[in-house]
Symmetry: C4
Subunit: 237 residues, 4 copies
């Protein structure tokens, strides 16, 4: 009979080699699982590929189930683990396989993506994520203010362009909601080119919106960067 | 008879629960009013939807009118309030409803957007907006200089591309004014794709314009961000 | 007979009201001259508009000529002024009018834009431009390095995409030079949409190029901004 | 017989004029070689141009070969140089010419680009590149974290937009891999316009992805810039 303590050492910590190997294996399987999930969305897959993907799914879900059962086994308070955040994530990531196995429920398979949470767990103890947290706390008030102003800016831009362009392009700038899409793609400077003003008034309006709006959308990024470097400096001293 | 003091406590301050509830109600009604305004711009609305929107408009404007009357009632200097900034904003936001009720004057209904000013009022006492003000003061001179240089840059880019592209694309780069639109969408990196150079000279020119211009347009954002973090540091010490 | 000293006070300094009025008039005339120049590029102008523009041109050039003559008159070393930077700029801005008056030489009229230099002169004594200068000096070495690396990056991106896309889109990615245009519009994130990869290899290549290249193109802006705020801090202490 | 020491002084150092001239000549030849390589990709070249390009190639490769042989001659440990990084780069840049001379192997000719490494060597002793190195070390942890989060962000955006748009645009959003291309061009704000959401759900999803994703992609740039200015400050004191 294997001792719980021994299993725990392998699953929960990365102090020993066995723990490192275990964690690395699980992480790799998550990546494999995500890649096979992505390949699965390709149209016109050959029957062979589909079979291979199915086999990979069975194996990975099998191992994830084993891991889940082991984690329950070794935990002192079993219910506590099952209803913990990571317990629920682990369950949600394997359950769809057993429920929807016979059916073709794409939407359900998306739950597999939840395993990404496990990958993020890697950074749990990293200094960088702690500094990032503190940087967010430092810049919190400004970020909220800018978020708010950016939302109002987007809304007003949408209303404005709607009034300028609606009569010239009724199909494109159908309503304030349709114009909001234009406001989002323009103020983030993505500019797909599916909607753009053609009237002189609309173009002039866009110019002013961009002059003011670019700063509002871009400043938060600068704020986080400078807050991060401030935190780093505090740590250094 | 209700005491003025009691009303004032509810309307003007958020110290007591009743005041908080009142402020929150008004803010929510503003949001509701803006959403119904936006839905109203959708084409092909059913008669039922139109009726519902009309009812929502009557109710919200009714409450805003009541609020406006109350604010006049409780103010010491009634004329002072009516001609104050917020007094005029409040009036401008409800007046169009009474004037244009029978008519279909879209342009007039836009005044409803003025109620957004009330939402911004929320930030009146926030530390973040004060810091933002001070950051603007710190970076003022640089911002004016960069604004000026950016304007000249945009103008020169428009003239330059006009000379390079006018003969190749007379329909697109019709005049310096039409080319200005290209300069705006290019230097802000929006790049809709409705206008772009096709001659080798125009492309080379665009390259140089972007190399110099990107910095000019983007530096102000960085300036505001670093001024903001400077202000925060000053506050901390 | 007017004293040279008196004219000099009006033209060269802004200490007295007369000097301020003079400078402001000249600046306004430059703006007027540029606007009329821009209107002139509009196609299908009416004969009346053309006549008005011609009159404006005659008047502004007349005043600029008068200013030029006055400046020569009051300078101690007349040849020194004529061959100074501003002397040449002033001459270059009025000469084309006299030479090309009868002809329709658009290219020559562009020299009028040189008067923009005069507008920039306004900032000659501003603190902001001095700080900007010092910021450039501070960040000089990094800016040169990044400029160099950015150039190599653009070149390698062009060569790479050429190899990936040339066979799939021979009309678009004709040569390394044509691909350079793609590299410029992509790495500056303008993305007009006139050229984009369609092969899987080209798309993957674009992904890596963007991941590395975005930083290289965007970092210099951040460098200038932080150098500027450093200079401001030095001034404050 | 020429002394090794004399050759070494010319080839390896830039202390003396002869060394500077040699280095400058080699650098210029690299540029010439790259330009001729680029011109070679142009379609429909005349026979004369092709001949000229061929002559340029023979001359430059000849000189590079001579330089390579000289470098071997003067090095104390000949094998050490041949198998050093720069030794291999130099060989890889000239070898294809001798192997593929008769054949038309475009892919092989690409190795000429390796000579760019020599140009970068110019910066070997520059302070800027040392500071850049130290800045990368300072910001390393954050850069890795953001790189990781950006990768996950891109992947999740691709999966999300695939679910929203696949049924509406099966040709464009064919699979998660095809959607990844959309995620890359959108989050970097390039926005070619070859793929964009058309469903209301997809547009709303894009909005949220941009709000969160822009920061994740843009913050690293700010981090490098602020780390660089920190290093510069450390050097100044």
């Amino acid at each position: 009979m294997i001792h719980k303590e021994a299993i725990r050492r392998v699953i929960d910590s990365t102090d020993h080699l066995s723990g490192k190997v275990f964690t690395f294996t699980i992480q790799s399987l998550i990546i494999v699982s995500l890649i096979s999930f992505s390949i699965d969305t390709l149209p016109d897959l050959s029957l062979n590929t589909k079979k291979t993907l199915r086999v990979i799914e069975i194996i990975t879900v099998g191992i994830f189930t084993l891991e889940y059962v082991l984690r329950i086994t070794i935990s002192e308070r079993k219910l506590g683990f099952i209803f913990s955040f990571y317990g629920l994530v682990d369950l949600a990531a394997i359950l769809p396989f057993y429920i929807a196995s016979g059916l073709d429920l794409r939407a359900v398979r998306v739950f597999r993506l939840l395993r990404l949470v496990r990958i993020l767990k890697l950074f749990k103890y990293s200094q960088a994520i702690k500094r990032f947290h503190r940087a967010l706390v430092i810049a919190k008030e400004e970020l909220i203010l800018f978020g708010f102003v950016a939302a109002i800016m987007l809304y007003l831009s949408a209303v404005g362009i709607y009034y300028f362009e609606n009569s010239a392009q009724p199909e494109q700038f159908k309503s304030v909601f349709h114009s909001l899409w234009w406001a989002v793609t323009t103020l983030t400077t993505v500019g797909y080119g599916d909607m753009y003003p053609i009237t002189a008034g609309g173009k002039l309006f866009t110019f002013f919106v961009l002059m003011i709006g670019l700063g509002i959308v871009a400043v938060p990024t600068g704020l986080i960067a400078s807050a991060l470097s401030q935190v780093r400096k505090e740590d250094a001293t």
